[in-house]
Amino acid sequence: MNPTRTAATAGRVLAQLRADRRTLALMLVVPCVLLGLLAWMSQDAPLFDRSGAQLLGLFPLVVMFVVTSVTTLGERTSGTLERLLSTPLGRTDFLGGYALAFGAMAVLQALVATGFAVWVCGLEVQGPVGWLVVVAVASGLLGTALGLLASAFARTEFQAVQFMPAFVLPQLLLCGLFVPRDQMPRALELLSAAVPLSYAVDALGAVATTVAPAAELSPDLAVLAAFFAGSLALASLTLRRRTP
């Protein structure tokens, strides 16, 4: 991995995002609007304190997944990926650049969404608010890694966008937001253990209900990191220098 080329790639991806003001605005505003809606309809504050916190882990995963998969698909179809791989840029530089750029976006999004939830919607968690941001960023990074991987299986942007419901909605149902995981039928509980969003939601639940959540959420973060590393490794296999 070459730091200069990785950083240049991250800078280039961020410049592309900056050029697309509308996407940028959607990335930052949509989470706030949804949190606001949830706060408004939750008559009962403790309910919002828990599910609002957990929702903070959902946005980055979904948004970074979609934006990354569409952007990388563009690289694959426009020929820029082929060109990049014919330069000294390594595959790890490419993946690292994307992870850095969208990691930075995830930080920004997490700060905005968490700030909005806490200061505007009155979200109150038992643990330190900083942990909410940390888990949200981890989930955003995971979304990016999965998006990089998913782009290899789409031929058009339509397909790439379709991966989102196919990929995210089952996770949303299984992750414990609607039915606590330990109250699910055994088979579904096992299945829910296989989806990464469960761990983000679990970790955020820990921040919501525990004063010192570090011990409880570090295994969750470890699992998220493992999913992240695994998806990146698989994604790197899909970056072929030679194509048919």
Binding site: T4, R5, A8, T9, G11, R12, A15, Q16, A19, D20, S78, G79, T80, E82, R83, L84, L85, S86, T87, P88, L89, R240, R241, R242, T243, P244
Partner: protein, 255 residues
């Protein structure tokens, strides 16, 4: 002894279910502008992709600057411009070039220099999406030039350009060649042949000729590259169907 930037020996390529290149033996001398000419679908792009090392299912040998095609060391010595511009349309010309410059270790001065070479100084802050097709393809060319490669592989770089720009690009290629860069450039427009030091005529995945234009005209008795190409096609057809067949007297058709 002649030095070669590209040598292929028995190069064949399969794409999908077809043999797109068959048994290509090619030698591209260092410091020349070599034109890869032939009709669309003839395999020009596939040959260039094989030279750059991005083509899968290649058999035979392809040696580029003394190394096997696609070697890691070649990645900073070979500049490749794909047929459709492979640059970021949502970024400005300058942002694109600075990015590609960083990847190959070139600096900002070099970016300014190549912008001048492709005549895009005035467009540096414009988004590629807002440029004309010809301008975008010159940005793509500039992105390959920025690394000062020893071998430039250019897939139809002059398509869609007006005559003045085309002339200026061919002059640029000649100047690059004079300074020791080897330029392998493809075109399906035969009248660009006169601009090349050597011509490789490619049709249906086979090389019809690999020679200088004067030698080619001499050999075929044609007046221009197009005529020479047509005669070689006729010769090849006649050789396949048997030259005694009536109506295939090779040097009389297409006149």
């Amino acid at each position: 002894m002649m030095k070669y930037a590209v040598r292929t020996d028995g190069l064949s390529v399969r794409r999908g279910r077809h043999d797109v290149l068959r048994d290509i033996d090619l030698a591209v001398p260092v410091g020349q502008v070599v034109g890869l000419l032939g009709p669309s679908g003839g395999g020009k792009s596939t040959l260039m992709r094989s030279v750059v090392g991005v083509q899968e299912r290649v058999s035979g040998t392809v040696e580029v600057l003394g190394e096997p095609a696609g070697s890691a060391v070649l990645r900073r010595r070979v500049g490749y411009v794909t047929q459709s511009p492979s640059i970021y349309r949502d970024l400005t010309v300058g942002q694109n070039l600075r990015y590609f410059a960083t990847l190959v270790g070139a600096d900002g001065d070099r970016v300014v220099q190549v912008l001048g070479q492709v005549d895009l100084d005035a467009q540096v802050d414009r988004r590629v999406a807002d440029l004309s097709g010809g301008q975008a393809s010159r940005v793509s060319l500039a992105a390959a030039l920025v690394g000062s490669p020893d071998l430039l592989v250019l897939d139809e770089p002059t398509v869609g350009l007006d005559p003045v720009l085309r002339r200026s690009l061919w002059r640029l290629f000649a100047a690059l060649a004079a300074s020791g860069t080897t330029v392998l450039v493809s075109s399906h427009v035969m009248d660009e042949a006169a601009r090349c030091d050597r011509l490789v005529l490619l049709r249906e995945g086979r090389i019809l000729a690999d020679d200088t234009l004067p030698a080619l005209l001499d050999r075929t008795g044609a007046d221009d590259a197009e005529g020479a190409f047509l005669r070689l096609v006729d010769d090849a057809t006649a050789a396949r169907t048997g030259s005694s067949a009536p109506g295939t007297a090779p040097h009389r058709r297409h006149r």
